[in-house]
Symmetry: C3
Subunit: 209 residues, 3 copies
């Protein structure tokens, strides 16, 4: 069996928690009721992994774990009572979100490789794991997914982290240190992108506003 | 084999019909053409079950049944020709919609339990069966899903009906009377929520408008 | 094995390319960044087939092919640098789009029949293959899917092409000529619908604007 699955559960739940916070917060901002907040928190946190597992043709991890169900509800409760504080703490939450992004792309890629996907497709699926939940959150909240237009580098660090995961796997490094290395790389790239305001380009000739 | 599958087909088609009416009606209100009305009717009626079956990793029921395909088209034809009358009949339609909600959450939970999901996850999937189609309808119609913000108790009765289904199943009651009891409970809760205007709360500090 | 799979790969990639162009172009129009353009191009081109394969319970073709991944990226690069030219060439692109529509509905129907779906359900799934990507494109771009309201006949040619594919298959014609015939029929119907401005009706009593 794969060691990562034994080493990372706490990290995993932490990633889910942070993604769920961003979903619940979006709900509060949009004046959704508590049901809407819980749906948004759960879909943000679990949506990417559910998409991945549907494509891998395995039972979604979210439907085999107690924590995956309860942690988004916990995030909903926290945002329900203390959303102004969470809102103020968003700069910190974004650091944890970057950690979740790194973790999810690495774990998603690894899972796809384990199931026998080619490295290229495993990388795509790893990125999908990391960004899919946020896309679902925005679509459900009636917005164009911020990933598509905000020009922040969010998908790109996930893509590179996934690629490194696949390369390490290809080179025979299949244990949790490889997963962690890929996750940390994506995390650091995301932090650097935020810190230095790196931006994705618009199509040629479309003016920056 | 499971008795419910032999007892409930007419009820099942009735639930699908009512959900499809709400989808086709949304289409007429939004000035969609007849193709859009048919797509919306079908997705509202079948989307929740398709999502459930994708997660259960079984062939979606909608793709094994003749009635599941034809009934939404029938609802489309009716709304196409008589939408003002259907619109005026919405209070009645809502009662049938509550019945569909009850039936779908009970049947969805039962199917998940049969496939071997844990009670907690079966309950989630039962609720998804009941509310998933309406969420897809609203997303396709370009709206935030009403479930997320309208503060009506819609998901909560489905959740409680699903929970009762799982409890009865756990206690050894696996026949159609258990399914019916759970469905009726969710139905009654939904009717009471409409009758007395029970509302889901907004996050603390967000004013009721 | 099925001959079509050996005969059609170039046609298939051409269809994917054209669908991807329409996705990338939507991205440029909406001022999405290059990441958003690539996501939209990929989902438009591959989304219908992924939906189909999830329902068929087989590994999505997009995750087994190199070309399916690279061609949407190529379309993104072209639109990124030359979107005004592509925009001007849209009348031509629409002809190729009609070809993609025809091809996708025929191939999708055939794949569903091969997996053992009934003719009726195979037809539905063939149409889904052809129009699913465009629906995803519009939802992600924050619009009501144009398929639902623009009254152009887009789904109907796909439906008829799928039906002819199923009829030919039922009559024992299972090779690539049957697939091609169904694809050409849908293509021609779509071209005629554009040429003569055939329109789908609105619900009775809703005035044409």
């Amino acid at each position: 069996m794969n060691d990562t699955l034994h080493v990372s559960p706490l990290l995993d739940l932490a990633g889910i928690f942070v993604f769920a916070l961003s979903g619940a917060l979006m709900g509060a901002r949009k004046r959704l009721d508590v049901v809407g907040m819980a749906v948004l928190a759960s879909m943000t946190a679990l949506g990417g992994g559910i998409l991945r597992d549907l494509i891998l043709n395995v039972r979604p991890a979210a439907f085999e774990s107690l924590g995956y169900v309860l942690v988004p509800l916990l995030a909903t409760v926290i945002v329900f009572f203390w959303h102004p504080q969470v809102e103020r703490g968003m700069p910190t939450v974004l650091v944890f979100d970057a950690a979740g992004l790194g973790l999810f792309c690495a774990v998603g890629t690894e899972k796809a490789l384990t199931v026998g996907f080619s490295p290229l497709h495993a990388v795509l699926l790893g990125m999908t794991t990391a960004v899919g939940g946020g896309i679902l959150r925005d679509v459900l909240a009636g917005q164009i997914p911020s990933l598509l237009y905000d020009r922040q580098l969010y998908a790109v660090p996930a893509l590179l982290g996934s690629a490194v995961m696949a390369l390490l796997w290809g080179a025979g490094f299949t244990g949790w240190p490889a997963t962690l290395a890929a996750a940390v790389l994506a995390f650091l790239l995301r932090i650097l992108a935020m810190r230095y305001g790196w931006r994705a380009p618009l199509a040629r000739g479309i003016p920056d506003e």
